[in-house]
């Protein structure tokens, strides 16, 4: 088990290193002069020189790479994501401001998509080939085929625009955001449409996974045994079968949760939520590379960490994984 975990962590570190390096290569492959960008409009050769010296842009690339790698090590005195090119704020501060929004988005939508996805999946698996199953299939295929931005725009159109022009202003306009600590009710109210958008898109995968996994488990011998013991169908399905069908769902859940925490780019763009996703899109548009690199790093960290946690959980839940 320990060896398995160590291997996973090493692989995760390698993934992070590859991502960091690729970002570095992109930074230098990009046809731009970082010093000129920092200098702003009133460029003088002396200013450029000064910036180059200050930021080390004139050092050999290997040295720059080494310095860059050192700055990425999470150790006091080394870790430094730099400052934003536009407003000179430390990148860590910008990220710290955005992360609560992504956590709020992730928590709310994750609850919704788990409840929705698993219940639709159970419904379909309990009565295969029934009208319920067909309905579930339609739900899954629509969810899989639906681009996030279309669903988001549709929800905005119906629940914000149509209702508001008819004088029923229930849903807030895009761009509204209240921190949880300020007013929890307002917080939920502002996030309800983004939550639904993310949840509906994501739930489809969970329904599909739950259905196939549960159908497989329901065919196992121990389920027949449970039925033969005279247990109620409800108990058989929810206590015996569903529990062991949840393993693949947990895997998917960890990765999806981490992806949303690392920035739900499209949902945030449509609903104007200033989380990591919107911040990175805005930073990309003005080539604000320190911010882009910082956010890519944080988002990658979430996903890589989630992969490790999920693998470890998987090994705990399913002893067969440990052997192989």
């Amino acid at each position: 088990m320990i060896r398995f975990l160590i291997r996973r962590i090493v692989l995760g570190l390698i993934t992070l290193w590859v991502i960091i390096t690729l970002v570095f290569i992109l930074y230098y492959a990009a046809p731009h002069d970082p010093a000129a960008q920092l200098a702003g409009r009133a460029v003088t050769p002396r200013l450029l020189q000064q910036i180059n010296r200050e930021y080390g842009f004139n050092l050999p690339i290997i040295v720059q790479y080494w310095n860059y790698l050192k700055r990425m090590v999470p150790w006091p005195g080394l870790f430094n994501l730099g400052t934003s090119n536009t407003n000179r704020l430390p990148v860590t501060e910008i990220i710290a401001q955005a992360v609560p929004i992504d956590i709020s988005l992730a928590v709310g939508s994750a609850i919704l998509w788990m409840v929705l996805g698993i219940s639709v999946g159970v419904l379909a698996a309990r009565r295969p080939r029934s009208i319920w199953d067909r309905g579930a299939t339609v739900f899954v295929l629509t969810g899989v085929s639906m681009p996030t931005f279309i669903l988001g725009l549709l929800l905005l159109y119906v629940f914000y625009y149509l209702l508001t022009i008819h004088g029923i202003a229930i849903f807030p306009k895009p761009g509204s955001w209240t921190p949880f600590t300020t007013n929890p009710l307002e917080w939920a109210h502002d996030l309800i449409l983004p939550w639904i958008t993310l949840a509906l898109i994501t739930a489809a995968t969970y329904s599909r996974l739950t259905r196939s996994s549960l159908l497989e488990t329901l065919g196992e011998d121990y389920i027949r045994t449970a039925r033969a013991k005279g247990l109620s169908e409800r108990r058989v399905v929810y206590r015996h079968a569903l529990r062991s069908s949840l393993t693949p769902i947990i895997t998917q859940f960890g990765i999806d949760l981490a992806t949303v925490m690392g920035g739900a780019i499209i949902t945030e763009s449509i609903f104007g939520l200033p989380g990591l996703g919107l911040t990175v899109v805005q930073a990309i548009q003005v080539q604000n590379l320190p911010v882009v690199i910082g956010i890519v790093l944080v988002a990658s960290f979430f996903v890589v960490a989630a992969n490790i946690v999920v693998d470890a959980l998987y090994a705990v839940l399913d002893p067969r994984v440990r052997v192989s």
């Binding site: 991502i19 690729l22 681009p147 279309i150 725009l153 990175v280 882009v292 996903v303």
Partner: protein, 328 residues
């Protein structure tokens, strides 16, 4: 003389075939096609896909008939007297015009070209690349497998939407780059499946037989093993196409895909977003076509999966029985 071909027994020697009609030999491919033909959902999706392909291919024709190019702003009164866009059903503009007086129908047709091109090409590249990598990893095993499998693991655990956006923003957006980016982040999904299949296939007797006949590794991989992997790869590839189409639309929507004024369904929607919801037809048509396309490919992928899966034979048998009963 070739050792691999079995010489047919001369016909005269064969005993007289009993005159029982009915059981013909059918290849697995024929079986699959037959199953697909009886599947109504599959048929409808194929029709939808064919129609959208026709729309894409016929885009210049539509432009010629209407007399409006995809980027022509405001030709023969594309806007009304107040300079407002025309709603759908206006004279000469079936689906209306956008805020610059451009014909939405023509733009949709040209957008279909981009979507299909990106979807199909990205999937094709990813499939070929994934097959080769997966076959090499699975067939040779050992250190090569460890390295290739780790690479695929790394690619699969990338936050790929974010990374694609960074890539596109650095190199500037273009259609070929979009295709390559999508292909790069999809090949691992195919590669992993092919690797798993190749791992089990290489232990089979037919591989041993091919070895003993002196076949080389490449021949065994691509001539003997590969045909056995076609089924799962076809299913996955069909399902990759809509994913790639959505990905392209998303990139274009964020302003990082197809560069305006060239129309794509994604950038038509982002144009619409800058105008607001009053002009509902700016939104509804690109959305409708995008959804229709992805849904058709997803439905087809599911149907192909069912048709290729021997376990679902019972459903098809039941369906055939029903059809026969209805016909009788």
């Amino acid at each position: 003389m070739s050792l691999t071909t079995v010489q047919p027994v001369p016909a005269e020697v064969l005993p007289e075939e009993p005159a029982v009609k009915g059981i013909e030999g059918r290849t697995p491919l024929q079986l699959v096609f037959q199953r697909l033909r009886t599947d109504r959902v599959a048929l409808i999706s194929i029709i939808v896909i064919v129609l959208i392909v026709a729309l894409a291919v016929g885009a210049p024709l539509i432009a010629a008939i209407t007399g409006h190019g995809p980027t022509d702003a405001n030709v023969d009164n594309g806007t009304d007297a107040n300079g407002q866009p025309l709603p759908p059903g206006s004279a000469g503009y079936l689906l209306g015009t956008d805020n610059l007086g451009r014909d939405i129908l023509v733009r949709i047709a040209y957008g279909a070209r981009i979507s299909l091109l990106v979807g199909v090409l990205a999937t094709a590249i990813a499939t070929v690349f994934g097959m080769v990598i997966g076959l090499f990893a699975g067939y040779f095993g050992g250190w090569l497998d460890s390295i290739l499998a780790r690479i695929m693991d790394v690619v699969l655990s990338f936050p790929y939407v974010l990374f694609a956006i960074v890539l596109v923003s650095v190199f500037g957006s273009s259609v070929p780059l979009t295709i390559l980016v999508i292909a790069f982040f999809s090949f691992a999904a195919i590669g992993r499946i092919v690797r798993g299949q190749a791992l089990s296939q290489r232990e089979k007797e037919y591989v041993e037989a091919a070895h003993s006949l002196g076949a080389g590794n490449l021949r065994i991989m691509f001539i003997d093993i590969m045909p056995n992997l076609v089924a799962p790869v076809i299913v996955l590839a069909t399902l990759l196409i809509p994913t790639a189409i959505i990905f392209e639309a998303t990139l274009s929507f964020l302003g990082l895909g197809v560069v305006p004024p060239t129309p794509s369904w994604g950038n038509m929607l982002s144009d619409a977003e800058t105008v607001g919801f009053q002009a509902w037809w700016f939104y509804i048509f690109p959305m409708l076509f995008l959804l229709l396309t992805t849904l058709a490919f997803n439905l087809l992928g599911d149907a192909v999966r069912d048709a290729l899966d021997p376990r679902t034979e019972r459903i098809f048998a039941a369906r055939r029985k029903k059809a026969k009963a209805a016909a009788a």
